[in-house]
Amino acid sequence: MKMTFVPQPIFHLAMMYNRLLMLIVQLLVVMYLGMEYQSGIRMKQFRHTQIGSLKEPSMEKCHLLFQDTAYRLMKYKKFSAGWNPELQIINYNHLKTINMKTIKIILLMAILPYVSVAQQYKSTESYIRFFSDAPLEDIEAVNEKGVSAFNVETGEIAFSIPIKGFQFAKSLMQEHFNENFMESDKYPRATFKGKISGYDQNKSGWQPGTANGTMNIHGVEKELKIDGELQISDGNVKIKSVFPVTVADYEIEIPKVVFYNIAEVVEVTINFEYAKN
């Protein structure tokens, strides 16, 4: 993966904060559970050693591995002095409950990430078109190689479009587009990362939604608000949008003397169809 150091927009920070918080909570929970679990195993083994026959507590006679556990347990149960044969029974019950809890929580935590994955949709089909309406010549290019991911639950959306995938009617125009305007060797993809809001994930049929996020074209990032429509049905999501892109915003130079003119604002159409990941 390429590392880039660009100032992160606010929603990135929020995500990073969430991630950090989750990490800390997990760390605490897992450390606690981990210790309980470990000592649980030890205590079970400890129980099976023939400690009952011992006349008095003797740490030296326990297996070295269990010394600290036994010692800790005695302190915990306030058996500060003397040896109590009841120890194993009390302890056994105590361990049983901890182990059940441990297993449940560990299972839950193991499942959690997959629960969120289930809400993620990946594009199966795409259609991206740009259209420039200029006095001399209309220019149109279509790309079917874009990919996208969408999280219905959170509204997060990202798409990535390979510039070289744009097909023009005129092959020379396509070459100029790649070589001179988009510099697709240097900037092979146009990407968008953001969040769609204003939709109801339980509603069927087309409904409006607004995506707020960062568009990256020609290596230039720009905050953008895109209005579109989406359709959510079981296991299938469709998104469509038509929005203007101002060529100059992305530092794409259009020479004054070209034999075909490109409009300063081009119309971009995006269609994505998603299936559950």
Binding site: S171, L172, K193
Partner: protein, 306 residues
């Protein structure tokens, strides 16, 4: 909560579990990162090694996409050292008009007529290897074959076959960076009839050419052909050319200086009589206009249900 016992095994165990859960969640966190991880860098054919199908006099490895037609007007003035009475060569003009048709993305046929020696020529050009990006194949190679007929009125009647000459050439080029490309081309020129008994019928030469972009729409080019075996009594020099490519939309405009008068391989490789270093330099230009005769098919339709 029980007091944490600093047992290293426990901590390791905890961190192990923690990592196990977090690795899976982290990877899914950023949708864009996830997408980009999945998109493997494609190895696509490198485009625009040269901006035009010609470098200066000779061909580049480029072939146009299927269905395009190129109209090419090549023009050379006279020698700049011919003095004011010839207006430094601008009074004279040598011209070749050509039409190139791209039958497929890799196969181009062309015809042309040169004013120099009233020559008709035709060629076939086939790109058989393509340089690919992202560690793919390292160079592009194009095979070139042409035949030309010199139709000048001669004092002595000659058979048609004696007017013919052939050129076989392998063009090998690599685009080293978006701005810099280099081409090598071994050439064989065969002339059915030569002027003097000293002239050889088969000339072998090695050409080298390059392009360096100087701005987004212009580039410097050079071209040089070294002849291995052409011995003749008449002046014979290796062809040198220096030029500038200017791209303007559907046109490519090339302006250059060269010591060659002819604009077909047989002429400029084996029959250049100007000494570049003595000022036998021709200012010239190529004007290339590309027309799309047949479109690649209709653009894809929007998806169903949108």
């Amino acid at each position: 909560m029980r007091k944490i016992n600093p047992n290293s095994r426990r901590i390791l165990f905890s961190i192990g579990i923690l990592l196990l859960f977090n690795l899976s969640t982290m990877a899914q966190d950023d949708l864009l990162e996830m997408l980009e991880e999945e998109q493997e860098p494609e190895s696509t054919p490198v485009s625009a090694t040269f901006k035009s199908t010609r470098i200066i006099n000779g061909h580049s490895i480029e072939t146009r996409k299927a269905g395009s037609m190129e109209v090419i007007i090549q023009h050379r003035f006279g020698r700049i050292n011919s003095g004011i009475e010839n207006f430094f060569g601008l009074d004279e003009a040598y011209i070749r008009i050509g039409l190139d048709f791209s039958l497929t993305d890799k196969l181009t046929v062309g015809i042309g007529r040169s004013s120099e020696k009233a020559t008709y020529d035709g060629f076939l050009k086939y790109k058989f290897l393509e340089q690919k990006s992202n560690g793919g194949f390292p160079f592009t190679a194009t095979a070139f074959f042409s035949a030309a007929s010199d139709t000048r009125d001669r004092p002595v009647e000659v058979d048609f076959k004696h007017t013919l000459s052939y050129v076989g050439e392998i063009l090998i080029a690599r685009k080293f960076s978006p701005g810099f490309s280099l081409q090598m081309m071994p050439v064989w020129v065969h002339r059915n009839l030569v002027e003097t008994p000293e002239d050889v019928n088969d000339v072998f030469a090695l050409g080298i050419a390059g392009r360096q972009k100087i701005s987004r729409r212009s580039a410097l080019t050079f071209e040089y052909y070294y002849q291995f075996n052409n011995t003749t009594d008449s002046p014979n020099y290796n062809s040198i050319g220096l030029g500038i490519d200017i791209e303007t939309g559907g046109h490519v405009f090339q302006i250059h200086v060269t010591n060659s008068r002819g604009m077909i391989e047989k002429e400029f490789i084996a029959d250049t009589d100007g000494d570049f270093w003595d000022g036998d330099i021709h200012i010239g230009f190529n004007l290339i206009r590309v027309f799309q005769l047949k479109r690649d098919g209709k653009p894809p339709k929007p998806m169903e249900g949108y």
